[in-house]
Symmetry: C2
Subunit: 218 residues, 2 copies
């Protein structure tokens, strides 16, 4: 069963958390990129390794026992700072900033660098699937019928180059519990990957979410 943690946070507290943790995670994103691309000598790599381990040890002196989870603010918004696609604190996430229209249609513009590579110079096919899963899921939620992924189908029309990209998705149909969503990933020359997903909200999640009343991500 999912656990949404309730945190009573003010707008100021949420803004302060973002102002502190976004540049922190961005610094870690830069380090992830440099770790892949660096050509400095062994001595310098060993020095960096030791320094990073020391920073991590300091950060771990006080930490949550498990993953970040999903936390509700008690005022209708949700914080998923550890999310692998949109998480503010998660350096695995680009992170995507997904814009909601309120009409079951969402989009995001973003840049993918060296950390998202599969074939040389191209976005890993699985990374395209990772991002589209989140974008399609947020379209379902934006349409008023959030859910967990039941099926996801990707059609790869051509390689997606690393660089500036756009993703979007829209609700195709919904019966309130099962929502069908379609979306795509594209570069400046057009669509590279098409996606279709079915999102379903299990009863226990419906009850829990109704109690927490989350309506927007923060």
């Amino acid at each position: 069963m999912l656990n949404y943690t309730l945190e009573e946070l003010t707008d100021d507290e949420i803004a302060a958390e973002k102002a502190l943790h976004r540049p922190f995670a961005d610094a870690v994103r830069g380090l992830v990129d440099a770790t892949i691309r660096t050509e400095v000598d062994a001595e310098e790599i060993r020095r960096a390794t030791a320094e990073i381990e020391a920073i991590t040890a300091r950060l771990r002196t006080r930490q949550s026992p498990g993953s970040f989870g999903v936390r509700t603010t008690g005022r209708g918004s949700v914080r998923a700072s550890g999310n692998a696609v949109v998480g503010l604190r998660n350096a695995v996430a680009p992170p995507l900033e997904i814009h909601q229209t309120g009409e079951g249609r969402v989009y995001a513009d973003f840049h993918l660098g060296a950390a998202y590579e599969g074939p040389p110079g191209l976005v890993h096919g699985g990374v395209s699937a990772l991002l589209l899963d989140q974008v399609l899921g947020e379209a379902a939620a934006d349409g008023g019928t959030p859910g967990m992924t039941a099926t996801l189908t990707l059609r790869y029309r051509r390689g997606t180059p690393l660089g500036a990209l756009h993703a979007e998705a829209r609700v195709v149909s919904s019966d309130g519990v099962k929502t069908k969503v379609a979306g795509q990933l594209s570069d400046a020359d057009g669509v590279t990957v098409e996606a279709e997903g079915l999102f379903v909200l299990p009863r226990w999640a419906r009850e829990q979410m109704a109690a927490a009343k989350p309506t927007a991500f923060e």
Copy 2:
């Protein structure tokens, strides 16, 4: 068009690169996890941010101009150290160590922590897709018919808990250019996600790979 870079490396040079860069990227993986989970105060976060930026600047004094790419050793093996799923140097990658059987069947056992979260305590549905795309693709290659993902279909049977997981895939059929592969992700209680993929090798890639003759990942 893909570019496989040819590097003439000896076995000793490849072993030395692994011995140096695996612990380095593992340290960055630890930092990514701590960045999500830490609860230290703002002062400590700001100090860590500045220190990480300084390390990154030093690493960037000598770096490759773009992504790592895929490099062949000239002796039948391929290095994809920047790969988002299996890349030794890539802290976005868990990384998976995928075992090949030589019979179109591969498997991997691994652990996913806080950086791979979607719903609270569960693996992000898109992360399952990301990992399965790589595992299915390697099964196609293991069967002698490598290719790029043409279609990928995921069926989510239940939530996948963060923790110890197993993935496997096998070639279902192949005509030499198009290869159909099936696979699954599972935890100790059984299958959580089923996947089916079609992998196709475009002619230009066939010609390039025939010239490079890669047969195994390193």
